[in-house]
Amino acid sequence: MSYRILDAGDAALTIEFGNIIDPALLAAVNALDAAIQRLQGAGELPGVIETMPTFRSLTVFFDPLATDRDTVLAALQPLIDAAEHGTPVDGRHWRLPVCYEGEAAPDLAEVAATLGICTDEVIALHSGSAYLVYMLGFLPGFPFMGDLPERLRLPRRAQPRVRVPAGSVAIATALTAIYPWESPGGWHLLGRCPIPLFDARRASPSLLAAGDQVRFTPVSSDECRAIEAGLANGEIDPMQWLESTPTPAENAA
């Protein structure tokens, strides 16, 4: 696997392992990320502030007053070489409820019509696969997940929405996502997930992490409302949708 070093200004650089969405690239990204975090935890890599792992690249943020680009790159070089042979890490497995009905699914009929299949088939396809959380970004806790079954793949909407409601479950290209916050957005909205994906009061504010696997379970509008009510009054713990956690040995990259 080859890589490129890209400058992102005077205070960040990006190590790019490729330019496509591919679990093998993600393995290299996550291996490099874990190696950098271990060194940082040991007090090494002075001046490195944080890292941002994405589908295919890792961006390293540093303080140009505390270090410089060449020093950071020299320290990273052996880690990059090792990361190229990184193997995928098994994350946690989730099964999240999704309401694919009525107001919760504003684009379901249009997506079905465009794809030439019925809405039940769209739901069956979307909820019939396990998705890898490639990365979090765009918004706090926003998971980019894939890959969608081939038959569900569509370009983004020609006209992005100014307002996508929080909780919207959406698809575009080979990816699916859940909007944790109301925001503008150009993806097709298939349903609504009642579980809050981000809560700053939690020790880990983001429910999902890169490397996790997610499956969706269709629920009715009534069930969706009941879950929301249960979460709001504290009777339901979001962790109940966690199916399994890798053993610590598996998790050590």
Partner: protein
């Protein structure tokens, strides 16, 4: 029994929010740094108020911020090219920015207008906010920091620490930073290879104008169209403060403190950190030019600018105890239509 001293927001003006040095370490879960748009202004305001340099303060856009001390005296300091008005029992007086001032209980302070730029920082002695994920910075999209995660609004009351001393001597920045209209420096990349060779030349050779779409997330510019090679789309990767992303229409958008942490538009270049505050302070309609530097040169500029900032902060002096005369001096200047942070008559006490 003592009453709670508060700073009450009577009006936030165009937009005002509580910010500090920013929220680090959470970009991996999609949380931008937020924090002030101009670190130098923050550090000067806090130094004038005797606070730590990246303490939380009020960042406001344009004129109109209007506050009052309630329940006791409040010491505040204003950094930015602002015309400041204080109104109390002794009437209304104007003073220049770049200094601290004590508001007696009931006194009001208003930023009448900004002479240059569009950002001012108002540091408040005793403003101790709880950190949310490591920072008090307001990030409205996810409701983090500040007061209930929201921008400041009329009626917001900021409770101040009971041990805050509002009566210490006032301080002034003797050498306010000179306006710098030089080009905004950028480092080409990370996706400059997604553009035609002419695009980077157009970006650094032409004049761009700030549009009305300019806020804490980013600034849309208009100018020469930047031609992509192939699709105007990449597999999303990380953005940084200063990323210049170019959507299909070919007009650049510079991302700022509250911008999304990842994006799918190619980024032709990145504005260096040292020039980001200056860029964020440009008003809609204002023109700017870019100049390209290498990443290593950007680092050298960062260190040089840091030295300048330290020199500015080191020029802060205590105002004479009979500061009343100085206020009269400022007022006199205003009557003449000229505002100087310091009159020529100003003499440091030592």
């Amino acid at each position: 029994m003592s009453t709670q001293t508060e700073l009450e927001i009577l009006s936030p003006g165009a937009f005002a929010s509580l910010q500090d040095g920013g929220r680090r370490g959470h970009r991996r879960i999609g949380v931008p740094w937020a924090g002030v748009l101009d670190r130098r202004l923050m550090r000067i305001a806090n130094a004038l108020a005797g606070r730590s340099e990246d303490a939380a303060l009020i960042e406001c856009f344009d004129g109109g911020l209007h506050v009052t001390a309630s329940g006791g005296a409040v010491k505040i300091a204003v950094a930015g090219d602002a015309v400041v008005e204080v109104e109390g029992t002794e009437g209304r007086r104007q003073l220049a920015a770049w200094r601290s001032v004590t508001l007696a209980d009931g006194d009001q302070l208003r930023i009448r207008k900004l002479e240059g730029g569009r950002i001012a920082m108002v540091a408040v002695v005793g403003l101790d906010l709880p950190a949310v994920m490591g920072s008090a910075s307001t990030y409205v999209r996810a409701g983090l920091g500040g007061v209930d995660g929201r921008a400041l609004a009329a009626g917001t009351r900021l409770a101040l620490a009971s041990d805050a001393d509002p009566w210490g001597s006032d301080h002034v920045l003797t050498q306010p930073p000179a306006a710098d209209s030089g080009p905004i420096r950028l480092v080409p990349g990370p996706q400059d290879d997604h553009f035609s060779p002419a695009a980077l030349e157009a970006l650094v050779g032409g004049e761009y104008r700030v549009t009305t779409e300019a806020d804490r997330m980013g600034i849309r510019l208009e100018g020469a169209k930047l031609e992509h090679v192939g699709a105007a789309e990449i597999v999303s990767d990380a953005t940084v403060p200063g990323s210049i992303q170019v959507p299909g229409a070919g007009q650049p958008i510079v991302l700022l403190a509250d911008a999304q942490t990842a994006g799918g538009y190619p980024k032709i270049a990145t504005v260096i950190g040292a020039d980001l505050g200056r860029l964020a302070a440009l008003r809609p309609g204002q023109a700017l030019r870019f100049a390209a530097v290498g990443a290593a040169e950007g680092g050298r500029i960062a260190r040089a600018v840091e030295a300048e900032t330290r020199a500015l902060i080191a020029s802060i002096r205590a105002l004479p105890p009979d500061g009343i005369d100085l206020m009269a001096l400022y007022t006199g200047n205003l009557v003449d239509g000229v505002v100087h942070a310091l009159g020529a008559e100003y003499r440091p006490l030592y």
